[in-house]
């Protein structure tokens, strides 16, 4: 399907990283637009009126929003190009989608709360719930990979690997900042192996954010939040 591809995003966003991973796997070229979320462009606001957030993929002038929808769109619109992100069998696709929803609802959305809650106590509770969800996800990895390989997609990466892959630099940054291992070798060995194998891939080396840069970004964010808390 011919047509210009433009990605509105920010370098640090794990959700934008998902879109970049998907585009790269399919071998698609696109114009990368770095947004300043403190000063959103007209294009961003008009392309994503519902959330006004990144990523937004614009294909031949048509915007697609929400990272999981974008990744699925890339898979559908470029079905004949490069590898497919989903298995061919409807049931296996359903299993994949189930675990993709789990990643989003129980891992990502829970973890995101860490940045919104105010007390250390709440933060600890949120992290505890996130870690519990990661342990359940270990079972999901087992089910999806079916013993065929280290990835959710088996011996090659697929939809869930992309969704989770976008978060890897933040997972590593979190460990560096707080000592908390979201993916622990002893508690979730399969996921730990997954992360190792994922990071060895060419696409990961090309696309994933530099961990140190994410750490610096997170520190600056924490400082700003601390300031805001004091001044409110």
């Amino acid at each position: 399907m011919a047509g210009e591809l433009k990605l509105l995003g920010t370098w640090v966003s794990p959700f934008v990283t998902r879109a970049k991973l998907a585009l790269h796997i399919k071998g698609l070229s696109y114009e990368n637009v770095e947004e300043d979320l403190g000063n959103k462009s007209e294009l961003l606001v008009s392309s994503n009126p519902v959330y006004k957030s990144v990523p937004v993929l614009i294909h031949s002038g048509n915007p697609i929003c929400e990272s999981s929808v974008i990744v699925q769109y890339i898979n559908d619109a470029f079905a004949g190009v490069g590898p497919s992100f989903l298995p061919a069998d409807p049931y296996e696709r359903a299993v994949t989608r189930f675990w993709a929803v789990y990643v989003e609802d129980k891992v990502v959305n829970q973890w995101a709360r860490v940045f919104r809650v105010k007390t250390d106590e709440e933060r600890a509770e949120v992290m505890h719930q996130t870690l519990e969800a990661v342990e359940v996800l270990e079972g999901g990895l087992k089910e999806c990979s079916g013993g065929k390989g280290a990835f959710f997609g088996g011996d090659s990466i697929g939809y869930i690997d992309i969704l989770l892959g976008g978060l890897v630099s933040w997972v590593k940054a979190t460990e560096s900042l707080s000592g908390i291992k979201l993916i622990d070798t002893t508690k979730t060995p399969l996921l730990a192996a997954w992360m190792e194998h994922f990071c060895e891939l060419h696409v990961a080396k090309t696309i994933l954010q530099d961990v140190n840069a994410v750490v610096e970004y997170a520190k600056a964010l924490q400082a700003r939040m601390a300031d805001a808390a004091v001044n409110n």
């Binding site: 399907m1 009126p49 519902v50 959330y51 294909h59 048509n62 697609i64 929003c65 929400e66 999981s68 929808v69 974008i70 699925q72 769109y73 559908d76 619109a77 079905a79 061919a88 069998d89 409807p90 049931y91 696709r93 359903a94 299993v95 989608r97 189930f98 929803v101 789990y102 359940v136 079972g139």
Partner: protein, 240 residues
């Protein structure tokens, strides 16, 4: 590989379909609509959610929630995931658009209705704290306006076009359950004046021939949820 897949599909077509659901559950309803739109016969197993069955716990160990679709020896959970499965595992008609862009649009709105929409709408109904209510109400109305605008832009009978599709099914709670909760709370959010297209759509949805067959009556829902009134108010009060 293609022949094997085709044979597997043909074999699947003859297998038993069961749906583990619960009376009054909007999520169960979603799956029933999808099955009926596809002309798939199924056995409905109604759960008592206060006393979950072994069958449910076995087939949805992760969440222990309804609905769960059982197709032969396979089980699928998560209503929107089930709908995509039904769409792909059984023949025409399609519940999702075939065009990739339209499909992405449908998935976007279904997700919006599932993720962003419910909290604000629900809190606007059940929240007694005036201050808390004010901020969620603004957002709830904005969300309704977004859906109204989407319907207007499409200019068709349903979000899915001429017939019920993924987004309509995802929004079924808005079409039917919202009226129930509004009645119990004595608050109206979905007004004809502010959201004429949505109201017309809601009416079309609940009167659709296929939907009607698996829609619990409003009176039954009012009776059922009135009993939960205090619980819902408490939930709204503690929600952050």
């Amino acid at each position: 590989a293609v022949t094997h897949h085709h044979r597997k599909q043909k074999a699947r077509m003859g297998e038993t379909v069961k749906l583990i659901g619960a009376f009054g559950s909007g999520f169960s309803h979603r799956v029933e609509v999808a099955l009926r739109l596809k002309g798939v016969s199924y056995e409905l197993i109604l759960e008592d959610l206060s006393n979950k069955s072994e069958l449910l716990l076995k087939h949805n160990p992760v969440h222990k929630l309804v609905p769960v679709l059982l197709h032969g020896d396979r089980s699928v959970a998560e209503s929107l995931v089930i709908i995509e499965y039904i769409n792909e595992a059984f023949n025409e008609p399609g519940i999702l658009p075939t065009d990739p862009y339209e499909r992405a649009e449908a998935r976007f709105w279904a997700q919006f209705i599932d993720q962003k929409f419910p909290r604000f709408f629900w809190m606007s109904l059940w929240s007694l704290d005036e201050e808390a209510r004010r901020s969620v109400l603004t957002e709830a109305k904005q969300n309704l306006s977004l859906l109204e605008a989407q319907l207007k832009a499409k200019g068709k009978r349903f979000f899915g076009g001429d017939s019920v599709g993924l987004v309509d099914i995802a929004a079924s709670a808005l079409a039917h359950w919202s009226g129930v909760f509004e009645q119990i709370c004595e608050v109206t959010l979905l007004t004809q004046e502010e959201y004429p297209e949505l109201c017309k759509w809601a009416n079309r949805y609940v009167n659709d021939d296929t939907v009607k067959q698996c829609l619990p009556s409003r009176d039954e829902l009012v009776a059922m949820f009135t009993a939960c009134k205090e619980m819902f108010r408490a939930m709204a009060a503690s929600h952050k």
